[in-house]
């Protein structure tokens, strides 16, 4: 495998040709913030939190997709990027109904944590307060569309790890939403195996275990990591 050299934040690093910037940064111990990305799933490039600046290009590129190249000069923490990240988080809050104080995932939520990371102290955009639904027709889990940020982790984990592809996205723009099978109540979706991987992968309180109250939901991400390791490296935690 050929190796390329590049710089991230003025730090010279080497990476495997074909790696994404995100992978190369991770291997070099440089943290690039992500939201829709989840290890073990294909990249989606939807949230734009991982955007980076590449010298010589006026376009910002998502680190989860963009491949490294020889001599690349990448910046991940410029004023412009920080400002954009903050704006993205503010937009996510404005277009959903993320009321942290009464959320099952309060204190265990990646969106809430991202708001702290970008130091959002208020939202400069007007809240839309769209009327969204909650589906609790499944026996074990519920989906609260108010808290969904359309990261599509549930869609990808269901398709790529479980192999069921119960979830997908329907609609466009502000009307886009995650649907089960042919936009049926989740409990009536025949393809669902009730494996719970969507619940493990969800970054917010959108997919939750029934019975969880405020701040009780902790997505068991470690279970998912074990499955990913088994799939990719054929190693099982016993």
């Amino acid at each position: 495998m050929s190796v390329v050299t590049l710089t991230i934040n003025q730090q010279m690093i080497t990476a495997n040709a074909g790696d994404t910037i995100l992978q190369a940064a991770k291997d070099a111990g440089i943290k690039i913030p992500t939201l829709c990305y989840l290890d073990g799933l294909s990249a989606h490039g939807g949230c734009r939190i991982c955007l980076v600046e590449i010298a010589g290009s006026t376009k910002l590129q998502p680190a989860c997709f963009m491949k490294v190249a020889e001599g690349m000069q990448i910046n991940t923490e410029t004023h412009k990027l920080k400002e954009y990240r903050k704006m993205i988080v503010e937009l996510l809050f404005a277009e959903g109904n993320h009321t942290c104080s009464i959320c099952v995932a309060n204190n265990h939520c990646e969106l809430q944590a991202m708001a702290m990371a970008v130091e959002m102290d208020h939202d400069r955009f007007d809240y839309i307060h769209p009327p969204k639904e909650i589906d609790i027709s499944h026996q074990r889990f519920g989906i609260d569309h108010n808290r969904c940020i359309l990261c599509t982790r549930c869609v990808r984990v269901c398709d790529e790890i479980e192999g069921a592809h119960t979830w997908d996205v329907a609609g466009r723009g502000g009307l886009a939403k995650v649907i089960a099978d042919l936009d049926q109540p989740w409990g009536e979706a025949d393809s669902c195996t009730s494996c719970g991987k969507c619940f493990m992968a969800c970054p917010t309180g959108a997919i939750f275990q029934k019975g969880d109250s405020v701040a009780q939901t902790e997505h068991p991400r470690n279970k998912l990591e074990s499955l990913v390791m088994a799939k990719d490296k054929k190693q099982w935690h016993v």
């Binding site: 104080s101 959320c103 309060n106 204190n107 708001a115 130091e119 102290d121 208020h122 007007d126 009327p131």
Partner: protein
């Protein structure tokens, strides 16, 4: 040195932020050495004073009384701070915004779901009219400072209050800025 004139306001919120303020416990005595509380639900005053240095606003702007009061608060205060999640985002108070307007909400609450005495309260001498949508404070007046949290912890309230005599309130960072 003259003491700082401090006001606290309670709009559409649960008073939890004020309870957290009271969690300052004995430090409240220390607060009074450099600040005088000139208006607050915790003291007996009816009229918002003409000159206030700092006003902490708890709660979202939910009705016409709130709407008029905050104009006066802005005019009479040097520094206005959104105190807690409801003032900053609408939070729980704004959950009703899914109805988009006040009338369908009132119909749902006081007629459709009422067991007895169905009817929307409309005596304006007793209850102010609801605004159609609950608004965060900064969407209506300029706000100088934001202290998130539901409620903000007494520790963070104290850090901010302690910094007031210097003229510029402390900037909070990272995990100190937690919603919920």
């Amino acid at each position: 040195m003259a003491r700082l004139k401090l006001a606290t306001l309670w709009l559409g919120g649960c008073s939890g932020c004020h309870m957290s303020f009271l969690d300052l416990d004995e430090w409240l005595l220390e607060l009074t050495t450099f600040a005088e509380i000139v208006y607050s639900p915790l003291i007996d005053t009816k009229k918002f004073p003409d000159q206030v240095d700092v006003t902490l606003v708890e709660g979202a702007v939910a009705n016409e009384d709130h709407f008029h009061l905050i104009q006066q608060v802005r005019k009479n205060s040097k520094l206005v701070a959104s105190f807690g999640d409801c003032a900053i985002s609408g939070n729980v108070t704004a959950v009703r915004n899914r109805f988009q307007e006040a009338l369908p909400l009132l119909q749902r609450s006081y007629i459709e779901l009422a067991d007895v005495q169905k009817g929307i309260p409309n005596d304006r001498s007793v209850v102010p009219a609801l605004l159609d949508r609950v608004r965060p404070l900064h969407s209506l007046i300029s706000v100088d400072y934001f202290l998130p949290g539901c409620p903000p912890t007494a520790k963070h309230i104290r850090m901010v209050l302690e910094s007031l005599p210097s003229g510029k309130p402390l900037s909070l960072h990272g995990n100190q800025l937690k919603f919920g």
